[in-house]
Symmetry: C2
Subunit: 156 residues, 2 copies
DNA sequence: GGCGATTTGATTGTGCGCAATATTCTTGTG
DNA sequence: CACAAGAATATTGCGCACAATCAAATCGCC
């Protein structure tokens, strides 16, 4: 039934969009971001800002570099992001006294208080989905993220 | 062993970064993009431009709207992206004669020729990984993308 | 102490990604 | 044909995201 009428195995187009795992991740990431946006808007946060807050709520007082390693982002992304968050009154950026190359990021009172309004976000977003499935998927992708991080050109 | 010394089940922090499935997708998408960048650079493409080319190589002559639905992107993203690709000489943008609201996107000769240099990209990127695992993961995430697309506020 | 290599952030420039809005065209109704 | 309603794309403004580059501070070795 092949167009060429040959007996050779059907060779699917390697460039077919739907066969690209990368595209599925790209689409999923964009779609997830779009679902979170209106919920986080209630908190006055963008999605990457929310991630920064998650790190700071786990343990306050983190250097810019540590934040970047945790979120897999570089300083060119994080520095302006933190400046906007500082302008919002959520964090303070201050030079480390003992090593003036470092900039420590700390929560303000408002930043700490915001946590109470954020605790419901994960439940809101996963409502109606099977928790076990989501957990299993998270484990799988977490492993992949680990591999991808090691495979990075100049960061492995 | 809990800090409070209670018998209540250990309630893990719902805001822990590593427990957020959304973050795993976000990180994976960024890391994948970073892995593709140097390979696609050889072709003179960015990652989203590569995705547009994949769509056009599957079937030339697509409207901006159709392109957006396929890639889950809106016109505010795609229009300037296509203009850059037109400046690179890869595509042409022309008004549909029968419905002048529509803009059809077509490959140029150079755009068609680029396909030959792109066919090796998927194999290059998946080298050293188990094809079966990647396929299974793709199926899983493809299903999730379908659900996420339906769950979108004003597009479902 | 002096001095080059390294580490750490900041800056600059380009390219997405999306909400909100504007513009242009088609369609339906009379 | 005129005109209102709707559809499709373009424009604008803001916020990431990263490569490349720069500046400053620390570390290592002498």
């Amino acid at each position: 039934m092949s167009a060429a009428g040959l007996d050779a195995p059907v060779e699917a187009d390697p460039l077919a969009l739907d066969r690209q795992l990368c595209f599925q991740f790209y689409a999923a990431s964009n779609l997830i971001n779009r679902l979170y946006a209106p919920v986080l808007r209630e908190l006055g946060l963008t999605y990457p800002q929310y991630l920064v807050m998650l790190v700071l709520w786990e343990g306050d007082g983190v250097s810019v570099g540590a934040l970047g390693r945790r979120l897999h982002l570089d300083s060119g992304t994080i520095t302006p992001l933190l400046k906007r968050m500082e302008a919002l009154g959520l964090v303070r950026r201050e030079r480390d006294r003992s090593d003036e190359r470092r900039v420590q990021v700390r929560l303000t009172e408002a930043g700490r208080d915001l946590r109470a309004r954020a605790v419901s976000v994960p439940a809101t977003m996963s409502r109606g989905r099977d928790a076990g499935e989501l957990d299993a998927l998270r484990e799988t992708i977490s492993g992949l993220v680990g591999l991808l991080a090691e495979a990075q050109p100049a960061r492995g």
